[in-house]
């Protein structure tokens, strides 16, 4: 048995409170007061523990127990490239469990005594963060928010387009642009890729609506438009993208598997790919997606609205690639401030004075848990 031989996989489902009511734009009408995460620890014979977390409730823990753990026990955690097939196959019958690759690379990093991004050939040690909002708010309130966001040090903000009448959403962009000009880059997310279109969800855009909105946003000098169409409408996305000049199209958080990202790239759907290391593919597999994107002249800006552990995993990923862009930093006080997203971490990631998020210089992904808090909010244990 090697010191890195896997001896156990344990999961804790935590139900973490939010400091105030949160009304996610993507869950119209829904009021959220807490969020689920499943914290996973991979144990090895030598005592090194790899950490990760799923953006999920018990469904991920059960899938790991049923489809992953029996195939991981006895394997070498320091050979993640040999184990990724297990994670991909789990999705044939179970929930996506790509987050487990983070734990394996966490072990490799700890054995090497290096942060993951340096293990992979560091490109930078900090990334420019954008403040990702999550609620729909009127123009007046958003202008106030953006004054605070600038004060906090951010240079970019992402807004949600979810109104029945898109002109109301556009008015918010106009007001912010008028007030702050080039001091604050604006990104827009339409969340049309999934999330129950048409059923308790939101109005679904046609290619025509998406084009109308995109041309208007281009005129307003917006940086990117995210998820304007369903996640598998490759032809529609390409047609829309072909109409545009300076406005970038972004998306991919709800696509899974390297094969899907290859198809998105080959089909010319997006300028900016947004996989998430705890949702879309293994974190190292996303380096392959990044390589495909680099070869195609595209950018990678991971989705990170999951939890602090996912944020760190994605941060190491982008610090190791040359074709990164703005980095998603979820921060929507009072309901979902950054401190809520990262409450399970002993040290909460925050931006520096230039609006950049520094990569922690600790081995692996530098995930240090607030064990007391994690235990307090644990609702189920598996493994």
């Amino acid at each position: 048995m090697l010191p890195t031989t896997i001896t156990g996989v344990r999961s804790r489902v935590v139900d973490l409170p939010l400091p105030a009511e949160f009304r996610p734009a993507w869950g119209r009408g829904q009021v959220q007061t807490s969020f689920f995460a499943t914290i996973v620890e991979v144990e090895t014979a030598g005592g090194t523990v790899g950490r990760t977390a799923a953006e999920a409730g018990p469904e991920a823990a059960v899938s790991i127990d049923r489809f992953v753990t029996p195939n991981l026990i006895g394997q070498d955690a320091a050979a993640p490239e040999r184990l990724i097939g297990i994670l991909r196959d789990a999705e044939v019958l179970g929930s996506p469990v790509y987050c487990v690759e983070v734990a394996l690379w966490d072990i490799v990093g700890k054995i090497a005594g290096l942060p993951a991004y340096k293990l992979w050939g560091a490109e930078k040690d900090r990334v420019p963060a954008y403040c990702a909002t999550g609620e729909v708010r009127d123009a007046g309130r958003r202008v106030e928010d953006c004054a605070r966001i600038l004060d906090e040090g951010f240079r970019a903000v992402k807004l949600r387009f979810h109104s029945d009448d898109v002109r109301e959403d556009i008015a918010v962009v106009e007001a912010i642009g008028k007030q702050f000009g080039k001091r604050l880059a604006i990104l827009v997310d339409a969340n049309q890729a999934g999330v129950l279109p048409g059923t308790g969800g939101h109005r679904q855009w046609s290619v025509q609506t998406a084009t109308e909105v995109a041309l208007e946003l281009e005129r307003l000098d917006v940086t990117w438009l995210e998820e304007p169409l369903p996640r598998h409408d490759h032809d529609g996305l390409r047609r829309l993208r072909d109409r545009l000049g300076t406005l970038r199209l972004a998306g991919g958080e709800n696509n899974h598997g390297i094969h899907e990202f290859r198809a998105l790239i080959d089909d010319g759907c997006y300028d900016v790919l947004q996989p998430d290391a705890v949702l879309s593919e293994g974190v190292y597999q996303l380096r392959k997606v990044a390589a495909l994107a680099e070869a195609a002249g595209l950018l990678v800006a991971p989705h990170t609205w999951t939890h602090g552990i996912g944020l760190l995993a994605n941060l190491h990923l982008v610090a190791s690639i040359p074709n990164s862009s703005w980095f998603e930093f979820p921060h929507e006080p009072p309901g979902w401030p950054a401190s809520a997203l990262s409450q399970m971490l002993a040290e909460k990631p925050w931006i520096d004075a230039d609006g950049y998020l520094p990569v922690p210089d600790r081995p692996g992904f530098g995930i240090e848990l607030d064990e007391e808090l994690v235990e307090r909010y644990t609702v189920a244990r598996f493994g």
């Binding site: 469904e59 195939n71 097939g85 196959d89 929930s95 996506p96 059923t199 598997g257």
Partner: protein, 383 residues
């Protein structure tokens, strides 16, 4: 009409004798695990479905489906289908839900679902799907029994380290009974933990060599010779063959993936499963695409009797289904009685080797309630 409640029962049904499926090399499968789903309405009609899954499916239905289905009219199936697709972003695949909705529709109409969908035929030719790897002599004996029972087609598994050794089964059966039985071959290379306690991965050159041998022996199709997302290699393989069709798709999910498989020319025969791959009604769209491209659809059904019934109605309603998979591999523990033990009566073939669509409303699922109750391990009800 409104959906009032959704009940998921995890049922762990024992097999009476050992069963060593080829895809779980060496391991004995002692049971059939399924999730029985019952969708109850305010008008007293209940739709039945089953997932070929464990508690992960029950959790996914509870978390990602039930909140959007309760209170909805179950006859608005096309409007409810995207909810199933979206649940796969975070949860286990729950495509089986559409079976329950169409079961309600059929019961309301007082018609078998196959008739509601245009009733192409009342019966579908079965192939006897084996699962174990057995020596040639034993398979010759098996085939003699099958012929006596009325089967006109049989599927064998290729799983030996040297696939050229697997060919001996086909050679022996051809030598013994000539062309009296159609022979299919399944390599199960599409998924199932490639390289990990699973089986050897073939690669394109081995797949082509084996395919050419099978072609020379007039085999009806070769199933899953390559991983499920190697669209281009599948096409290259197919392009090099003359009379041997390539089949697959049970591990692909979603209409969009089948569209890709069709457009990329990966398969001659598509094999989605109404419990695993897409909603049963959505599979009719896949069948329509396949028909327009001159391809066949032969649903995967390996799982449980409820899935077999759902796939049977689909198969009977389309013009391009050549065969229905009929899992049955005595004397192992997995025979038709074990497969259908959750039903009041097992499905059987007629003297010409066809399975008949039951002349009952909906999918004609009549449960063995007593047995199901006895083997229920957990119940999850949403209201």
């Amino acid at each position: 009409m409104k959906i009032e409640s959704i009940t998921c029962r995890v049922v762990d049904l024992p097999l009476q004798r050992p069963f060593h499926p080829a895809w779980a090399r060496g391991r004995n499968q002692p049971n059939i695990l399924m999730v029985l789903v019952e969708v109850a309405t305010d008008e007293g009609v209940t739709g039945i479905a089953a997932a070929h899954a464990g508690v992960e499916a029950a959790i996914a239905i509870e978390r990602f489906v039930a909140p959007y289905y309760i209170g909805q009219d179950p006859l608005f199936i096309e409007r409810l289908a995207p909810v199933m697709r979206d649940s796969e972003i975070l949860g286990a695949p729950v495509y089986c839900m559409e079976v329950a909705l169409w079961d309600i529709a059929g019961k309301v109409a007082g018609m078998p679902v196959a008739h509601m969908w245009g009733g192409y035929s009342d019966r579908v030719l079965a192939y006897c799907a084996t699962a174990e790897v057995r020596p040639p002599e034993q398979r010759v004996e098996d085939v003699r029994r099958m012929l006596a029972e009325g089967y006109r087609a049989v599927k064998f598994r290729f799983h030996l380290d040297d696939p050229f050794e697997d060919l001996k089964v086909v050679e022996a059966v051809r030598a013994a009974v000539g062309d009296r039985i159609a022979i299919m071959v399944d390599a199960n290379q599409a998924g199932v933990e490639p390289g990990h306690g699973g089986h050897r991965l073939w690669g394109l050159p081995t797949a082509l060599s084996i395919a050419r041998e099978l072609q020379a022996m007039n085999v009806r199709w070769l199933e899953e010779p390559l991983p499920r997302h190697e669209y281009d290699n599948l096409r290259r393989l197919r392009d090099k063959l003359d009379t041997l069709p390539i089949a697959g798709g049970e591990d692909n999910h979603g209409l969009h993936e089948f569209k890709l498989l069709i457009e990329k020319g990966s398969y001659d025969i598509l094999q989605p499963d109404a419990l695993l791959s897409e909603g049963v009604g959505q599979m009719r769209k896949i069948a329509a695409l396949a028909e327009a491209y001159g391809l066949e659809v032969a649903p995967h059904t390996w799982g449980n009797g409820i899935g077999l019934l759902a796939n049977l109605h689909l198969a009977a309603a389309i013009p391009n289904c050549p065969y229905l998979e009929f899992p049955h591999d005595p004397p192992s523990g997995f025979d038709l009685a074990a497969r259908d033990q959750m039903l009041a009566e097992p499905l059987t073939i007629d003297s010409e080797g066809f399975v008949h669509v039951p002349d009952r409303p909906g999918f004609g699922i009549v449960l063995d309630e007593e047995r199901i109750n006895r083997h229920t391990v957990s119940t999850h009800t949403s209201r």
